[in-house]
Symmetry: C2
Subunit: 156 residues, 2 copies
DNA sequence: CACGATTAAATCGTGCGCGATATAATTGGG
DNA sequence: CCCAATTATATCGCGCACGATTTAATCGTG
């Protein structure tokens, strides 16, 4: 009589709570919900805020550079940037040297939001209930996960 | 002459890459992109797959229970479930005892997807480039972050 | 210089995710 | 028993996110 199949080798049914992807998915939703009222005070959405973050680091980036920075395509960014232009926080202008490119420039109101945002976001670390060290470690791990997934999807 | 202001005490400008929320946001997008072709083979979207996961654990859940499980509201779930019903993987039926409730039942095709999904998702841990222990640790930390954000948003 | 190939944005359609609201069924206090 | 309050879904509108395609400008090779 052969050995009974090792229970440990028998693949447990995978549950929702075992999936890293679900943890990330639901944490992202939780961040969105947490940020929504804060962003509303700035007259922004959360993705629009991320675009502004990128522009506060380097103004005048093209749509493609922003997409590279944020991991988004022009089909997402173009309408988003148009809404931000309507809201008066950025301006979009064609590059004179290369008319294919569109440079995104902060307006003075767009620049002024940086200080306000800094003040409003000061509460976030507290809300995470984690120490600074834990947050750095977590962020580093999530970035590694993200980058590995991205390059596994492309050519390894 | 006074000391030069301590550089360490001077609050560095916060950069996109310092934000945990951006790491989570971009990792979630990366998961979506990674899963998309896999889910396409199952005829599903990623959120639809998460609903099926919940139903494979417990069939016949109501819309509200599913929402609780996934962290979603009826305004997200109702149209999503209708698409899944059209796709033939679930059925929705009003509860006889309480006509307000809608129970979500797996169809045989919906049940059969569990095995296929298991096979197709076997490649995921490899793609993350992390060890099992690292993934467990990461998932636990992300869940803690998510839960803390959720309860900070409600009544602390 | 010409013209196909490449590059950069924009457009289109679909599916979430959610705030606000509506609809319908059940419950509970007088 | 009745009707206001509560509960469970559903509806509506908006803003992402993205695959597929289009438009327009630039580049490269002959």
């Amino acid at each position: 009589m052969p050995e009974t199949p090792a229970p440990a080798a028998f693949p447990e049914k995978i549950r929702l709570n075992d999936l890293v992807c679900f943890a990330v998915y639901s944490a992202n939703n939780a961040f969105n919900r947490f940020y929504k009222p804060i962003m509303a005070e700035l007259g922004l959405t959360y993705p629009q805020f991320l675009v502004l973050m990128a522009l506060w680091e380097e103004d005048g980036q093209g749509v493609g550079q922003l997409g590279e920075r944020l991991g988004l395509e022009s089909n997402t960014l173009t309408p988003l940037l148009k809404r931000m232009e309507t809201a008066g926080v950025i301006e979009r202008r064609r590059d004179k040297a290369d008319e294919r490119r569109v440079a995104v420039q902060l307006t003075p109101p767009g620049r002024d939001l940086e200080a306000k945002a800094g003040a409003l976001l000061a509460c976030v670390p507290q809300a995470t209930g984690m120490t600074t060290d834990e947050l750095v470690e977590l962020r580093t791990a999530v970035e590694r996960l993200r980058d590995n997934l991205a390059c596994a999807r492309d050519g390894d």
